[in-house]
């Protein structure tokens, strides 16, 4: 180093910092990871141990009871930049295509993930036999006219056959988007509008329209247990109607509506997000979708949350705890969904 000039020394130091940074990030051999272990399970109680690892850990454990094994479904994300969108900016729709697969992979989701355009969507929806092994995410707030118009609806039969649909964006099934660079014409008579919801649910009152930017802040059982964060209800689902249809409130609760709702339809279901998407909301929505899918609540039969616990551990801290299972649930399968509940969670585990 002595024969080097100042600039060479600085350059070499910069190279060393970069290499050291890469090693620290990519091969963190000195970092201890968090861990969760079941110590004992006797049908009526589960004893377990949590270790924080090298960094402080906020952990949430959800205990669910259910009746059958889950199906590993293939996730299809609809995105076609050549088609119009409703209530979803282009950047955010594109962002979901990046973020949903990332969040699913971080949660070690085993199913395949595919991006489909308006043409491929037709093939997917016509394959009714595979519907009960598929999840479709509509990121654009409007179905493309290849599958949904005033006279055509390829979506409903697919859901009734067991498909699961996630809906993000403007009012559910209100618009039919066409292949065009122009913005969607809200007043085009070719849109199904309120009739769209009637065709799906037999009533248009399933959605309560509120002012843009309206947010709900009261936690529901599911939003609290699964740490779901999406707050908007400007096109939220009517809670009274949802209950009458045996649906589930997954999101936060407003005066009369919820920010995320699960509506059963035939053998499948529709999960609707409450109506709007702003800059960086794709980050939250992707996490919520991944959390809902990986928790297994969509696939188990008669699934119920039977309890959840929150922990805040200091670095290297370990603790043991016991969860007592109520008698009603002792004959059923118990699923334990363990996840970090702070920002940017990485530690996930699902046990049965």
């Amino acid at each position: 180093m002595r024969n080097l000039n100042t600039y060479q020394k600085i350059a070499i130091i910069m190279i060393m910092i970069i290499i050291l940074s890469e090693i620290t990030i990519s091969f963190p051999f000195f970092i201890k990871n968090p861990d969760f272990k079941i110590l004992n399970y006797n049908g009526s109680a589960i004893e377990y141990k949590i270790s924080a690892g090298s960094y402080p850990l906020e952990l949430q454990i959800v205990f669910l009871s259910a009746e059958r094994e889950p199906i590993i479904r293939t996730v299809y994300i609809y995105y076609d930049p050549e088609y119009q969108r409703a209530g979803v900016p282009k950047k955010q729709a594109r962002g979901l295509v990046d973020h949903i697969p990332s969040e699913l992979k971080i949660r070690k989701y085993e199913g395949e993930i595919h991006i489909v355009n308006a043409t491929a969507l037709v093939d997917l929806l016509l394959d009714i036999h595979s519907a009960n092994q598929s999840i479709l995410v509509i990121t654009t707030g409007a179905f493309p006219d290849t599958v949904y118009t005033l006279d055509k609806n390829l979506i409903k039969p697919w859901i009734e056959a067991g498909g699961i649909l996630f809906w993000i964006g403007d009012t559910f099934a209100y618009y039919s988007a066409e292949k065009s660079k122009k913005e969607l014409n809200w007043n085009d008579p070719r849109h199904p509008k309120d009739e769209g919801r009637v065709k799906f649910f037999g009533t248009k009152d399933i959605i309560i329209k509120l002012q843009r930017g309206t947010i709900a802040s009261v936690e529901s059982e599911y939003s609290k247990a699964l740490h779901l964060l999406y707050p908007y209800i400007s096109r939220g689902i009517n809670i009274t109607k949802l209950k009458s249809m045996n649906g589930k409130i997954l999101g936060k609760i407003g005066e009369k509506s919820t920010s995320i709702a699960l509506l059963p339809l035939g053998n499948g279901s529709i999960i609707i997000f409450g109506g709007e998407m702003h800059k960086r909301d794709e980050w939250i929505i992707a996490k919520d979708i991944a959390q809902i899918i990986t928790s297994g609540i969509l696939d188990y039969k008669n699934i119920n949350i039977i309890g959840f616990k929150k922990y805040s551990l200091d670095r290297n801290e370990e603790l043991k705890d016991i969860f007592l299972i109520e008698k009603d649930h002792q004959s059923q399968a118990i699923i334990i969904f363990i996840f970090q509940s702070n920002d940017e969670p990485v530690f996930f585990k699902i046990l049965e």
Binding site: T6, Y7, A11, M14, E22, P28, S217
Partner: protein, 496 residues
Amino acid sequence: MKIGLSKFSLLLYLNLKFKYFTNHPIFYWALFGMILRYLFGLYTSDSNDVEVWYRTGLSILYGLDVYERAYFAYPPVWGYILGFFVKIGGLILDSRDFARNVLELKSLFLITGNVSTTITSPTFNFIFKTPLFIADLLIGYILYKFVLELTQNIKKAKTAFLLWFFNPLVIIVSAIHGTFDVIATLFTLLVVILIYKKNYFLGGAMWMFGILTKLFPIYFMPLLIGVILSMIFCNSANIFEKFKKIVRNLSWFIFGAIFAFVTILVPILYLKTLENATGVFRIVETGVGVGGISPWFIRYIPEYRWILNWAYNNTHIILKYSNIIELSFLSVVGTIAFLLGYRNPAKALSYGSVATLSIVYLTAPFVWYQYLIWMIPFLIVVSMVFESKYRYILTIITYSGLLFYFSLMNIWHLMLPLAVYTNILNVDSIISATQIFWMEKGIINVYLRDDLKLVSCLFGVLGIILCLFPRNISYLYIIKESIFEIKKLLKLGGFK
């Protein structure tokens, strides 16, 4: 006895080193500048950008790669440096205290779209801003050394350090806003000096690290290649010797660049996050905004507001033609550097760097205020060594940048950490102050903020144009001398 002696030698060595540092002409200024940065930086941040650093840093802290969560839409070097500091900082400081979610800010976010509800704490600000401050200091020190070498004038060298280290725009970018342009600037300055010093391998490596931090150093390629070739032609005896040297020096430069590229790419390939890493180019798909301190600022004139929407719908056309124009002008810079660079390589590289960045600013679709700091070190070298007029240009560019940043949202939102983590300010008063500024009526435009953008960009663009007109080198002279060199080259088969 031996242990006692070695302890004594160590103490003596440390004492001598300490004295060496404290006696250095810029030591106390450097110390003062660093303290100033921490004073300003701990309780301020631009939450819109810093939220990305926080989320990326936290994901890395818990075991992910830079791109696994697809938040980070930049080349990877800053992600690695950020991740390293957060990962090490997290071992000492509590990561649960890195940020808070402030729901009251949702209303301000819905109005402006430029404020995050996630506000980082002084702890996190300390961690992520420290590498930025170190880069600030290193640039200052390099400028001091380089100017001293070229002028042998310690006063000028010290002034160069002060002009950089206490430049308000530099302080705002690194200490208050908290963005990483300074790191790319450090690499670019190093490339230029290392090429001047004929360290081609390290020069190539720094150039590639610069590109893998913020892409813009790629535009230096014509200038660098022009100067490398020019310096060889000047110093070699016969044509065979010249070509041997060309191959050797360019090879070292390319090896350096490949070394840096492979170093950066290995973990991305290993962790299979290459697809997410290409998110940096997604702008072509989702549309490009135009404006800022570039000629596109005319969109702030009410009659030309339509340009913004037009640009979003015609991204491909804009990128295609701006790249063609940019490359044409940069090729001219490269050619001049090749023909005349050997006469005074330091001058060619300094003026050439200023010209390169001026062309980049004048042809880019959008120039954010922080991009201006890329040019500041080169303006300082030119003004201290070759032409003092550039100090005035430096002043124009600095203050137009500051005014542009102010015009975006005023300054109050930058103090959100102060409001969230102390009782000195409260969040509601920041929200109302920002809302008042946001709705303030303008004279030319509907809103004052657009008027301020117009004025700041006008002055900024004028400053950038002035960079292309040095007082002591006329374009006529450059053309005459270039023709002379071409004739010589054609006659003799190379410079002699």
